[in-house]
């Protein structure tokens, strides 16, 4: 009858052999490259979504501010100083600032 511990040792050795045969330098280099820029994918996704959204909403906002009837109160005062393009740009700037505030806390990876 064979020693039961013998099988355990042989099993460990087979796992070790599998691990030894799995090594390659290309893998290490890939990991280091990714570790150097872990947020790249997040920036690309957020940047792409943000740019598309900004382009679309900017044109919509400009149209909205252009067709707005003369307002009263603070909005009316704003209309005397700023054209629809300027107001649309202001809203977009606020939206971008909000995204910049939130982006570091959002993980899409």
């Amino acid at each position: 009858m064979s020693d039961p511990f013998d099988f355990d040792d042989q099993l460990r050795a087979t796992f070790q052999k599998a691990a030894d045969e799995t090594r390659d330098d290309g893998f290490s280099e890939r990991v280091i490259r990714h570790a150097a820029r872990p947020d790249r994918r997040r920036f690309l996704i957020l940047g792409g979504v943000g740019s598309t959204g900004a382009a679309f909403s900017g044109t919509q906002l400009e149209g909205l501010f252009s067709s707005m009837p003369h307002a009263t109160g603070w909005l009316g005062e704003l209309q005397t100083y700023a054209g629809p393009e300027t107001m649309a740009a202001g809203v977009m700037a606020l939206a971008i600032a909000a995204v910049a505030f939130l982006a570091p806390k959002v993980s899409v990876s």
Binding site: F7, Q10, L11, R12, T14, F15, A19, E21, F27, P38
Partner: protein, 181 residues
Amino acid sequence: MSVSASDQELVALVIATKDRNAFGELVRRHQGLVRSMLTRMCGNAALGDDLAQDAFIRAFTKIGSFTGKGTFKSWLCSIAYREFLMARRKREAADKALDRLMREQTEDSAPPRDAGSIVDLDRALKTLNEEERSAVVLCYACGFSHAEAAETLNAPLGTVKSWVNRGRDKLKERLGQDVPA
């Protein structure tokens, strides 16, 4: 980077300076184990490699949470196992179909003749259920104690011992008693 530095020294360097060369040395040292472990757990080398890459990147970003309690290797294997679990949850539906297919293939196939080869080990591992496979891989491939495996698998110690023993017995039955190293 000095290859004679211990894992602990390299980890300290990475924590202090985010030195990528030091981390690269840690990756070189442990990539075989982590990739092999995940490949055995997934039953798929490409998926195992992807998960291993994610595990190393997670280890790099979370390295500050390594307290030095236990070895770096154990900590890394625990991260790798969590990556495996996350991927498993995401791909649960697909994996069920894959598992069924693999089981059918395994049941149809004859027992391996060249016991001990890596291919045969992989085939034999596929006859184990997921808990048994994970417990066996952690204990035999990663060198975890039963207690460490129980902590990683989030299961009672007695249950993990039983998974390891059952898995081991199945492997022994499948591979035979003469496993050439």
